[in-house]
Subunit: 130 residues, 4 copies
Amino acid sequence: MEITAELALEIAHHAARKAHEIKVPVNIAVIDTGGHLKLFYRMEEAYLGSIDIAIGKARTSMLFRMNSEGVGKFLDPEKRTFGMVNTNGGLVAFPGGMTVYRQGQIVAYIGVSGGSLEEDFAIATAGSAG
Amino acid sequence: MEITAELALEIAHHAARKAHEIKVPVNIAVIDTGGHLKLFYRMEEAYLGSIDIAIGKARTSMLFRMNSEGVGKFLDPEKRTFGMVNTNGGLVAFPGGMTVYRQGQIVAYIGVSGGSLEEDFAIATAGSAG
Amino acid sequence: MEITAELALEIAHHAARKAHEIKVPVNIAVIDTGGHLKLFYRMEEAYLGSIDIAIGKARTSMLFRMNSEGVGKFLDPEKRTFGMVNTNGGLVAFPGGMTVYRQGQIVAYIGVSGGSLEEDFAIATAGSAG
Amino acid sequence: MEITAELALEIAHHAARKAHEIKVPVNIAVIDTGGHLKLFYRMEEAYLGSIDIAIGKARTSMLFRMNSEGVGKFLDPEKRTFGMVNTNGGLVAFPGGMTVYRQGQIVAYIGVSGGSLEEDFAIATAGSAG
């Protein structure tokens, strides 16, 4: 099942509504299961530096089919996985990247950046849930 | 005047409507006057290779504040400006990148890729005109 | 339909058999529809510089869902598509990259490099046909 | 002694058999003593993010002619070799990259990624031992 532009807009819409609700300007990226950009949306006042982070979180989530902070666990210094963070052109492994499921399977990945870790996570969750 | 997400959506909406009308699946990118991505929208069946081209056209247009094919004129082999095409991370200088004016000034740039040069130009024009 | 390792091996096997038959040492890459490497095989004496070319041909084919030389037509100097060759990290748009169809749909892309354009094309065709 | 495609296939075959046995889908890379890719094999369900890690582990092992976790010891924060991890395009220095000896000398390097550090190590060992 490939993500449609309509579904991507719906995901971004739900994420943006949550962002407006909690008053946090963010960047929202939606990518397909192969890692290619499907939709991107930047709210007013969102950090420019968060554009790349939002896309990076979605991409990191896609690369390991799990939330970005799940990938972050692999990078824990105690794991001593020296250099893993620099693979794949750079992993962005903290909250805000997330799988998007529909009908039991992953159809896309969302990445959100601009707020605190908790805010980005909450906004991505709102988008992912739809 | 900074582009708003609302205006970016409007630009993309007009471009996408034209694309649907002439049945050409494209990627549409809208960037701000600083060159940072504001909105991106990929239609179903649009080439994955056109994602980068759409963004590149908008960026090329921004770098010289003119349509992308206008930049192409600088790159004409007769000009002997060898290597200019490789500056700025690579120029993408053929039709489909365009200035977006509102109230007499440039507020954004649009880049469209996926169809023929004429189709991309027509779709970008529809988005730019609003 | 996602490509299996078994199918990827079969594709590479048919390509390599053809390469042995016409005595041309090549590199063979098979990537999935999202552009991610599935299988790579380098024959003895194949050029090291052709590793990247084989992968690049397959990737170029994937980006536009057509044979790599089909993408090459877009790059014809007469088209004046200045800079397109440098998009997507660099297109490799000459014969040897090819779609792989099974049951009416694209399941993978093959890229072959090491021989002449005609030889690479013939070897990729043998792999693609299966 | 240069690695042959036949030996590379044998190494990957033994690694994949072990991976199937312990039910861990992985990416397997075999590179020659100059660091050039000879064979790559991705099992179904293996993480896409592990493609680059598998190749990176083999490459890291090659660069210092030792297992990848051996290189990791140089990167231990206590060593204060700040920045070494960023050399050579990025080192990937944790278990799963390994020398492959035949007749007393190194003929290739294998890199495995997709499972836990212990699983990747076990699978690489199976491939290396042949």
